[in-house]
């Protein structure tokens, strides 16, 4: 039932994604504190920068992996009925994939705009 993200692999994924998310959030906060984009052009140029764009895409990938494993762990702890658990996991998966595609679209549009 938990092939792909079960047991040890989920545990490792959770921690690798956590490391990336933590480092990226610190970088983002530092950027907003010391080099905040004051208008639309600076903001878009920052997002459209190839290095930042890739870092942002990785951020969303890490976020979705981290959210999937984290909420899945909660559902396994608190939702005992199989049907409810599978239903909620399905909803979570659809929601997370939708968020990922949406974020990807936003980032690609920023690069082309």
């Amino acid at each position: 039932m938990t092939r792909g993200a079960g047991g040890l692999r989920a545990w490792v994924l959770q921690r690798i994604s956590a490391l990336y998310l933590g480092l990226f959030v610190l970088y983002l906060l530092a950027h907003l504190l010391w080099d905040r984009p004051g208008d639309f052009e600076h903001w878009r140029d920052w997002v459209a920068d190839p290095a930042v764009g890739i870092a942002l895409m990785l951020f969303f990938v890490a976020l979705l992996v981290h959210a999937w494993v984290g909420v899945r762990d909660l559902l396994m702890d608190y939702v005992r009925a199989t049907a409810a658990r599978v239903g909620l996991l399905t909803l979570l998966g659809i929601g997370l994939v939708a968020c990922g595609l949406w974020a990807l679209e936003v980032l690609l549009m920023a690069r082309m705009g």
Binding site: R15, A18, L19, G22, V25, L29, L32, L33, D39, F40, W43, R44, V47, L63, A67, G70, V71, L74, G95, C99, W102, A103, V106, M109, A110, G113
Partner: protein, 126 residues
């Protein structure tokens, strides 16, 4: 696995005394769920701020509103609690701070530092 019908059940949330590390752990879970729920909102702001100069201004005005400040403070608190508690858990994974006094002090530090840092950051960012 046989459960006695007379085993004690004690679920009075007001009277349960949870160890401080337990509070940090539960709060890590709650803040994690809150962050997941807030993710679409985050992408929505990102999309609008990148949609053009008007969108950027609209988001800036929204984020500078008087009511927004309280939500931003709560949002930063949630984020920082999850981040700091997460760093604490990662350190415990590599066996740093596993023993009793440090284990409790670090939990206490996370609980105190998250709201303080949120206040400081909000002040510095706005």
């Amino acid at each position: 696995m046989s459960t006695s019908p007379r085993r004690p059940v004690f679920l009075n949330l007001v009277q349960i005394r949870l160890p401080i590390a337990g509070v940090v752990s539960i709060a890590h879970r709650i803040t994690g769920v809150l962050l997941v729920v807030c993710t679409p909102l985050l992408i929505h702001w990102l999309a609008r701020s990148l949609s053009g100069p008007e969108g950027f201004e609209a988001v800036r005005v929204e984020l500078a509103g008087p009511f927004a400040g309280i939500l931003e403070l709560l949002g930063l608190w949630v984020l920082l609690h999850h981040l700091l508690a997460g760093i604490r858990f990662l350190l415990i994974d590599v066996e740093i701070g596993v023993d009793k006094p440090v284990y409790r002090y670090s939990a206490f530090a996370v609980l105190i530092a998250a709201p303080l840092l949120a206040l400081l950051l909000l002040g510095a960012l706005s």
